[in-house]
Subunit: 363 residues, 4 copies
């Protein structure tokens, strides 16, 4: 239906780009979990704008907790956190725009909501709505990390520049932690430099670029998930496609698997210090919808930012005539760097939910 | 949680490969909808085995309706349809296997269910469980077709052979209908021949191959879906990943979008005979989670069948020792042809559910 | 929506009174749980007809397991059990009845399903559909009993005859076990005799009588449930109202609480052998939606069977004219005795679901 | 799980009595619906304290809309409204209380949340959390009223004083509208005077009283709802038990039905000006879980306020010793008058959800 996901741990995201506030309600958090607010701010900062390549809008994005937290710990009651919008236009009557921006939600939203949706800044479809997702995800990541589960993502491809590879069987967690501290979230900083050049190029042409984000989860034990529609892939993909610009997701070898032989793609088991592991990890940590104990690895494709400074063909939705549109202002020529923590957030929320449903959390 | 999906239209799939029966309960079907059983059998036959390249097990797969149908029309009550298993082993005590087949669900399932799961033939993880999905999907397709919504899929890539392209803005429905009548579901029969050679090659080497399936939906009006986690992509991907061997899904330009510029990927609007359309369809019919009125197009990646005749490394799950496994019997060297109607089925079930949730169905 | 309930443990009931079969799919059962079929048959027999006062239709009601059970133990996969209808009319075209029986679902169902619903024997609205509920409930009761949780119900009032009282703080489990073995489920057999006279009286007058069922749950620890809409009362009432003839439910002092003072109704705490208990149990084991550790006690009101042999006023639904109806055949003049195990079943299914959601089950 | 209810229209209530704010997120509201804020404030005022018999805490309870409303109309995006707590204790470290108040949620909550729950003022279990329910309910009532559906409740019994009866077949809407404008929500003001004496008596004795609320819904057409667990009664009861002090609910004749004969309880149909009606309405507007087109009528039982000024027995939860508690401050000696709009709110939210699920709303 809506901006809601989860089963035992449920998140509900609300807000519109230029409304009074955006926020999230999280239901089902275990009680007594510490929320490290500094850590959460650092996580939120990775998503926030204000960096070189991002939209210049200053968003401090510090969540205010309305409920569910007492003395720095979850109370078990629904947690609500909001971010007040600095550029809220009280009583403002935004002039209605009849010309939808290509590849933005403007036109589908106009039809769905009969024109009553808040158009300003994309309304509820704004990329800004990933901030409450990151509040929820940041909190869940802290809970997971205390149980030894780590989630780390990086830009794997931007434009046509690739980052360094991660060992899918034994990913270097130190490396992924280092990425989190970087201004540009890649493993190989040389590749990062090149990617940033691509972004600058696009920006100087009033254009934009896309990319892919790779996400790695370690520390998840085997046997978590469910067959068929309750699969880890079903649940993760439903969450990940909740991030606006995502166009695809694949697990392990993913689309490459389609080109492999069974003898290549099958991951042989072996015993490693008494533990069952696979020698390769083309399955990406999930088989039959259930975790194998190997790292979960998936790729997410992001489209180039649809807001570009070049004049584009569009229509007048009311009068049903052809029209032109030039989107003014400065735009984020590439959302992929900011999408990295969003992917981590969607992953954290989903995995904590699945864990709570399966065996409950270790105390 | 489980083998269940949907919100207004819910399907529940049950059964184990060698159990007494497999089946599906469908809740929320509108009353008074005709079920054309011949049409349904033809649809089921596309999934069933027995063809040249498929596993030789004779499955007639004719659904028996236990409830919800009267005089060929839905009653509005929950519909249950089952397929009795011909090779049910009553009272049989299948010998427990401690050596999981690589890239099968054997090991994760063993851990999740503490060894109590039915192992025979993969149990609830068997590809056979896509038959009840096809019962549900076949019924939903009939309901959708009566409202002018058509769903058609084909093998887009098998091994490394590609099928002919479909015009994403104006897909040829006659062509896709023709695919449904073919023994090998491709548009370009020459490509189909080559694909079948790849399958024969794999088979003769006791190996297997994977591929991708492209699915196209026409006739869906604009404005259907929801933002964020209620997106059409979230819902479709959750359903599609319910099909066992799926490793990835992408919409429209999909992973290719990551390599495109905004100026290339954005789909300009124009007026075509009074209707709002886009000149290109890189968005794949969905923007911001909501339909644009353009055809919905997505690709699904299938891994090569994990059952291969070559000896493989595995482990003894109980004794935690290394072991070898050679999977006996004949195996389906490529499930992609049979996966084509499964993708259509998952799509039909999901779209009917979304439509019922949005505005209800046109009567 | 429908004939489905639960969150972690979900049951889906399907079937129509004179259809091919009725049944239930249970999702989310823990794997490895023993199903004692004899015990289950005894439980089912308590619901089944054939006794003196019940409808003479012979229903053997032995569930056939289609999936989810192997060697007498749950596999963890969805469990489907069906009961084949002995009086299935294959290919039968039941004559459509335009005159709804008063206080039966005939008229509302006709409107909802546009006349496409299966009318025969009440279709999906038949009391017969409580049989699959009892399959699910009987299985769940076995699982709960192994964890020391006991559910027992009895007829508390029939017509205007009351059964003996149960000590709400310390209910006598032996007494409730004894009730389960009785042909007429009351504690006080003298009261039972009188109740049966009331039923015979009603029967001889072609009339029917109603009553109330009291249900007691012991062995549930404190701290299970949730605030507001996730309350134990919300969940239990939603399940109990799924039984056709239920018209009311109240917990602990229930409607009587409305007439009490706070000083009377409040249950003082005390320490009993190191455990926290209340001296009275007007709260019925649940405060603020969460269990207190005291027995859960609630009353359920059942209306008199609407099928009576007396001529009644009705209408012709099609022609919108007044009409008369006399319901032929023999009818169950009181469904309350058969409702007792149904209340237990709905309770078992709900409590197991809540327990699985809260902390998981003790192994 | 939690403080959430609904299927198409979902509400999520958050907040703790002395936290920063309480509020609600509503998902699934149709776009373009006018919210009359004055009307909403009047509705909220009926629930708010400050009147003679209510707790003296001044709560202005004016909702602030954070999202989902633009220019006085719903946007279709999730609507979030909050009420800031005037007595928020920022940075306050409430002293932990080890002695639970009898018949309050203190003890069950302590066990469930391991002592991490916010105890102050009852935390998330406070009656104050019915304010966000009334925000949601007030909005839904406006939407329903525009479609001719009216919801009205009154105190039917308080202590042992009864209000005037309502004609269940043809309830006087003017009368119920008048009740909404009264300071004390009864039909018969003489009975109201007596009720208020009972409250004053209880107050002067540091005691409290309970009562019942009757709710009447007119304008709902036949055919809305679903069989079994999707019944109107299942959905309404689940919502109504979400209101803290509710101990019972029954529909139509309710518990009285248990004492009636079928020939008395059955409601004969007749044609009234071309419409199908029943001559009596013991079924309370719902048969088989589906509306009959007759008014929906149900009674709800409220326990006496557990906060009383008399010393009570309790325990020390930590040390497991007997203890005494005297609850200081002034208390609301009867919550029933304030519960009346809460019952209407829970009803409005539920019925709008059911209507949206069934056929959608008339535009």
């Amino acid at each position: 239906m809506s901006s809601e996901i989860g089963k035992i741990l449920k998140i509900n995201i609300f807000g519109e780009s230029h409304g009074k506030a955006i926020g999230v309600v999280i239901n089902g958090l275990p009680a007594g979990e510490t929320i490290d607010e500094d850590e959460l701010h650092r996580f939120m900062a990775r998503r926030a704008g204000g960096k070189t390549f991002s939209t210049p809008r200053k968003e401090e994005d510090k969540p205010v907790f309305l409920s569910g937290v007492l003395n720095g710990k979850t109370t078990g009651a629904p947690l609500c956190a909001i971010i007040e919008n600095k550029n809220f236009r009280p009583g403002d009557y935004k002039e209605f725009s009849a010309t939808p921006r290509p590849s933005h939600a403007d036109y589908p939203a106009f039809v769905k909501y009969n024109g009553f949706n808040d158009q300003s800044g994309g309304g509820h479809f704004s990329g800004r709505l990933t901030a409450p997702l990151c509040i929820a995800g940041g909190i869940c990541m802290q809970i997971l990390e205390r149980r030894g589960i780590k989630i780390g993502a990086h830009i794997s491809v931007l434009a046509n520049v690739g980052d360094a590879d991660i060992d899918p069987c034994n990913p270097d967690q130190t490396m992924l932690d280092a990425v989190k501290a970087k201004a540009f979230p890649v493993i190989d900083d040389m590749a990062g430099e090149e990617m940033q050049k691509k972004i600058l190029d696009a920006m100087s042409n009033n254009d934009s670029v896309g990319g892919t984000v790779e996400c790695v989860v370690t520390g998840i034990k085997a046997g978590i998930g469910a067959p068929m529609f309750g699969s880890v892939e079903s649940r993760l993909s439903a969450a990940i496609f909740g991030i606006g610009a995502v166009r695809g997701i694949d697990f392990g070898a993913g689309f490459t698997a389609a080109y492999m032989k069974g003898s290549e793609h099958n991951d042989p088991y072996y015993i490693d210090n008494g533990e069952i592991k696979t020698r390769t990890n083309y399955h990406g940590g999930v088989i039959g919808g259930i975790t194998s104990g190997m790292p979960i690895i998936f790729q997410t494709a992001f489209k180039p930012t649809p807001s570009i400074g070049i004049e584009q063909d569009t229509v007048d939705m009311i009068n049903k005539t052809d029209a032109k549109i030039t989107i003014g202002g400065r735009h984020d020529p590439c959302i992929v760097p900011r999408a990295v923590p969003c992917v981590e957030a969607a992953t954290a929320v989903t995995l904590l939910d699945i864990l709570l449903e399966n065996d409950g959390l270790e105390k």
